[in-house]
Amino acid sequence: MAFNAVKDKYRSKVGEVVLGATKEQGGTRDYTITIGGEAALPFLHFEGEIPNRPVVAMEIWDVAPTDWNDCFKPFYADVWNDPVAWAKKCVDEYGAELIVLHLKGADPDVKDATPEECAKVVKDVLAAVGCPLVVTGCGKPEKDNLVLPLVAEAAAGENLLLGVAEQENYKSLTAACMVHKHNIIAQSPIDINICKQLNILITEMNLPANRIVIDPTIAALGYGVEYGYSIMERARNGALQGDTMLGMPMIGNVGYEVWRTKEANASSDDFPGWGEQENRGILWEATTAMALLQAGMNVVVMRHPKASNLIKQNIEELMVKTSFDE
């Protein structure tokens, strides 16, 4: 019996966002990265074009982390006191295509770095590596509203991805991205309505939709990853059906969420029933990223170099074209 493949017809596709700017484009990056643009559900090449592969970004901080698991020491302990060296190592040794610089040190409870100090770190990292850059604030809105506009100004022309904007606090970052021509991360708390609403609010301030990346807020495997997974599947279906205010590419902080869990960190001695700790942690991170990629995530922000390699390889394999046409 012959079968006819079911190809869902979509009215629209995911919007494209370009990260970074080369010399000709007014920046100093060696290359740019385009995310989004798919006209099909994740990796279903047989029903529509998937022009851009999802990207694995590596996370670095402007201060040395004090609470990261010991298994990170062999990879980062020699560089994590210096964001410039850290960024270089990620690019040169771990093959990072995209770096996420988290300005943790701006947090008044961490180092209370001044906006000027933060802007300098961003400039220094930009000078040291040629990849496009994502910069996120410390997460405290009062401080981030001082820091991020200055970062935006200092890096004008570089076409950064800056975050995060939230429903209660999006205006100053949106304005900074407008003036200095950067992209913005719009973060909503695992809620598709707020996600859409925030995108509307940001575009109403005249930042174009092709400069917005959605952070739907994700949780780690075992801690509610399925909530984000389903929100993302719904958003992606909505985008393909033509809802442009859900049609932006998506980013998620996989490494950050995973390495707070007990399962990633608990020692093999304390939990012999769970097996060896480091590989367990690596797979906790990779499995979380794998699942979110299946739901449509375009940028997974990762921490462990081995987990990041596993996912790069997985993406490579999933980008192999499939077709059911004779």
Partner: protein, 442 residues
């Protein structure tokens, strides 16, 4: 898709006898369509109508059982493409590969360890897939018997050699192994074996078109319990095939694909295997066969399975019962949280790592998180008072101070009033518990 009430109504006698318990045939038809009644409640329906409707009302994907008794695994009977549309019902079975040339006893000893406890749930690895690498039918048979006798796993028998297959199946037929696999060159003999021993049969095609043809031929021979393998092994193609099988079964009611599916990892590295298996688990595989049998590799995969197959409408809850973490004393602090399992277990993990023995009291908020429960009035002075009383906290500790989640500090006044206890406001996020406990109780 399922039949509508009107389609069912057309096939009914339309005499409104009321013998089915419904006042009219139309009301009965609507109830059947909604799954609230069944056709056999109508004593007047013709056999012909029953057959027509029965075939159309059959689930889009057949429920197939492998194993027997406490090893039985239920596969298939899914109705959705996305879990948010309703839910997924039958969790993917995880099978570990054992070769009949392995030290089977040692492998089985290790297999027993592949059960996990986390966040109050128990995960188990369901199946063993046995291959006939030895080419020796007596070895294959002995290994099959050892697995059935020495584990709680349902069995998949993998052999191209019909004689080896028959000798193993004959020995363990009572435990209903899955026979792998009927292919174009041997399907008649494999089907005959499956029917003789009444076992489920895997069908392997070279691509979806051949698979559909093979299934048609095999069902014509009368074999009903099938498991499908498109034959692909490359990640992207397996994802495409599994998606097509599910879509055709659910959206088009394409009968040849209305069965559970099986997928095999192609990777040698254990970590790469798990990531590849994760893709197949996310997108519709009913069984996944892996080579890795290490705990740290199967725990993440089985955790993803647990997450994916939860009912999105029903948050998982813990019992509203006080839990003692560590060696508690009458001086131990009392943390209030909700009975939403994610909330509870995050709090429990943090309290545990604070190393300060404490009580955690999960208030019954119908499985909602702290802020949601507060907004709905489910976490309030009264519900906290009820939980304190039901758990007799006054006799468990010698103080009357409870710790309220920081996000609901606004409840302090009403809680003190309703409970007669003093309120200490804790951290907003569970991650602040260690610091809070050290500052206040160390």
């Amino acid at each position: 898709m399922a039949l509508t009430g009107l389609e069912i109504f057309k096939q009914l006698p339309k005499k409104n006898t009321g013998d089915c318990g419904f006042p009219t045939c139309l009301a009965f038809a609507m109830a059947v369509a909604a799954g609230k009644s069944s056709l056999d409640k109508c004593p007047h329906i013709t056999e012909e109508a029953k057959e027509t409707l029965g075939a159309a009302a059959a689930p889009p994907i057949k429920l197939v059982k492998v194993g027997a008794g406490n090893t039985e695994v239920e596969l298939g009977d899914e109705t959705e493409l996305f879990r948010h549309d309703k839910r997924f019902f039958h969790p993917t079975a995880i099978a570990v590969l054992i070769k009949d040339t392995d030290d089977v006893a040692a492998k089985l000893e290790n297999f027993k360890e592949l059960e996990f406890d986390r966040v109050g749930l128990h995960y188990r690895t369901d199946m063993v897939a046995l291959t006939n690498d030895s080419g020796d039918s007596s070895k294959f048979k002995a290994a099959a018997e050892a697995i059935v006798a020495g584990s709680k796993a349902a069995l998949i028998l993998i052999s191209e050699d019909l004689a080896a297959m028959e000798s193993a199946v004959a020995a363990v037929a009572g435990s209903k192994p899955l026979l792998y696999a009927a292919e174009s060159h041997n399907y008649e003999a494999m089907t005959a074996l499956a029917q003789k021993y009444q076992c489920p049969l895997a069908v392997k095609g070279e691509g979806l078109a051949e698979l559909a043809e093979l299934v048609e031929k095999i069902t014509k021979l009368g074999q009903k319990d099938l498991v499908l393998d498109s034959g692909s092994r490359a990640t992207s193609q397996v994802l495409a095939d599994l998606t097509q099988i599910r879509r055709l079964a659910v959206k088009k009611r394409f009968r040849p694909f209305g069965y559970p599916t099986i997928a095999f990892t192609s990777k040698e590295d254990a970590l790469e295997e798990v990531v590849q298996a994760g893709v197949y688990l996310s997108k519709y595989a009913s069984i996944i066969v892996l080579k890795t049998d290490k705990k740290e590799t199967l725990l993440p995969l089985e955790s993803w399975r647990q997450n994916l197959f939860t009912d999105p409408q029903k948050p998982i809850q813990v019992e509203s019962k006080a839990v003692a973490v560590g060696e508690v004393t009458p001086e131990s602090p009392v943390y209030i949280t909700t009975n939403f399992s994610l909330t509870y277990y995050i709090v429990e993990g943090e309290v545990e790592s604070s190393k300060v023995p404490s009580y955690i009291l999960p208030v019954n908020t119908d499985g909602t998180s702290v802020l949601t429960a507060w907004a709905a009035g489910k976490l309030a002075g009264e519900s906290i008072a009820k939980a304190l009383k039901e758990n007799d906290m006054e006799s468990k500790v010698n103080h009357k101070t409870l710790i309220l989640p920081g996000y609901v500090a606004v409840l302090s006044g009403s809680t003190e009033e309703a409970t007669g206890w003093n309120v200490k406001v804790g951290p907003r996020e569970a991650s602040g518990i260690t610091k809070f406990a050290k500052e206040n109780y160390a």
